[in-house]
């Protein structure tokens, strides 16, 4: 391909310099454009940003509503689906750090949200039932 006076040409041995069909050119460029756009939309929808936020807030509210001694089973099917797609350890989906609930579905850090109750909270993933277990205990226990 060479450029002359702003035009795009293709060299053809039989006919000398030939021109790339404008329809094909426009179609290819349009296809590339929409492919990139669709790829971006697909990646955004699979990134789990909105799920990370929703799960973190939901878990924080569940903890605040709970009383010490309660064990909560939390179903997060869509989150597990995303984690399996990202080949991430299910036990690392949800972590608790100084009153912060951190939900990480993509392995890129995740989303954190705080609960205001002064509880000692532990989480573990139940592989058998495919649910997250949240154990709420007293701070000094």
């Amino acid at each position: 391909m060479e450029y002359k006076r702003g035009f795009i040409f293709l060299n053809n041995k039989k006919a000398g310099t030939d021109v790339l069909s404008p329809q094909i050119m426009v179609t290819i460029l349009n296809l590339i454009f929409f492919a990139i756009l669709l790829a971006f939309i697909y990646r955004s929808s699979q990134g789990g940003l909105i799920y990370e936020q929703a799960y973190a807030k939901e878990i924080a509210m569940l903890i605040d509503e709970a009383k010490p001694g309660m064990d909560i089973s939390f179903k997060m099917d869509k989150g597990i689906e995303l984690v399996e797609k990202n080949n991430k350890d299910k036990n690392k989906i949800v972590s608790i750090d100084k009153n912060k609930v951190i939900v990480d579905l993509s392995g890129k850090g995740g989303y954190s949200f705080e609960y205001f109750s002064d509880y000692n909270v532990k989480t573990s993933f139940d592989e058998k039932e495919n649910v997250l277990k949240i154990m709420v205990g007293n701070k000094n226990v």
Binding site: V19, F33, S44, K88, G109
Partner: protein, 171 residues
């Protein structure tokens, strides 16, 4: 060169991929990118739900079988007692939450905690403004053997915003 890219075909006609074609594609791309980014990074507002949970928690912990707890009138109840009794984290409360309990005894007894600046912002609208909930309840008060009904008003506010955590691992 930037003005237009011309494409010639064998018939001699000229189709122009003008700058407007690129401009319209760019506009469509930018608008879709912006809309999708906005949609997937929308902040789910649960401030009023949190304020509601906080008020329920406070009302439950100062209510002992329908009676106001005796500790309520202790001097250090506002400073530490309410946080310990209701299981509230003082540091987090001072950052993103506020509560004010008013009891219509004579004189009025007020116990408050958290970020006091939130009260003045209650009712205002905006992204960085706390959302408030006010609840009223009738409760019995044992005043040295004399039982009388009193009204409790609990105002709670929340202005907590979550954070995206950077980093992480693929482990």
């Amino acid at each position: 060169m930037f003005r237009k890219i011309g494409l010639k075909n064998k018939r001699g006609g000229e189709k122009l991929l003008s700058i407007w074609w690129f401009f319209s594609l760019t506009v469509v791309g930018v608008v879709i990118y912006w809309e999708v980014s906005m949609f997937y990074s929308t902040d789910l507002n649960i401030k009023s739900l949190e304020a509601d949970i906080l008020s329920e928690k406070i009302l439950n912990c100062i209510n002992d079988n329908g009676f106001l707890i005796n500790d309520f009138f202790k001097e250090d109840f506002e400073e530490l007692g309410i946080f310990d009794r209701c299981g509230l984290n003082k540091e987090i409360m001072e950052e993103d939450f506020y509560f004010k309990i008013t009891i219509n005894t004579a004189p009025k007894k007020i116990v408050s905690g958290g970020n006091p600046g939130f009260e003045a912002l209650c009712g205002q609208k905006g992204e960085n403004v706390p959302e408030c909930i006010t609840k009223k309840e009738n409760i019995l008060y044992n005043n040295g053997g004399e039982i009388k009904p009193i009204k409790i008003e609990v105002l709670t506010a929340s202005n907590q915003k979550g954070k995206n955590v950077l980093g992480g691992s693929n482990g």
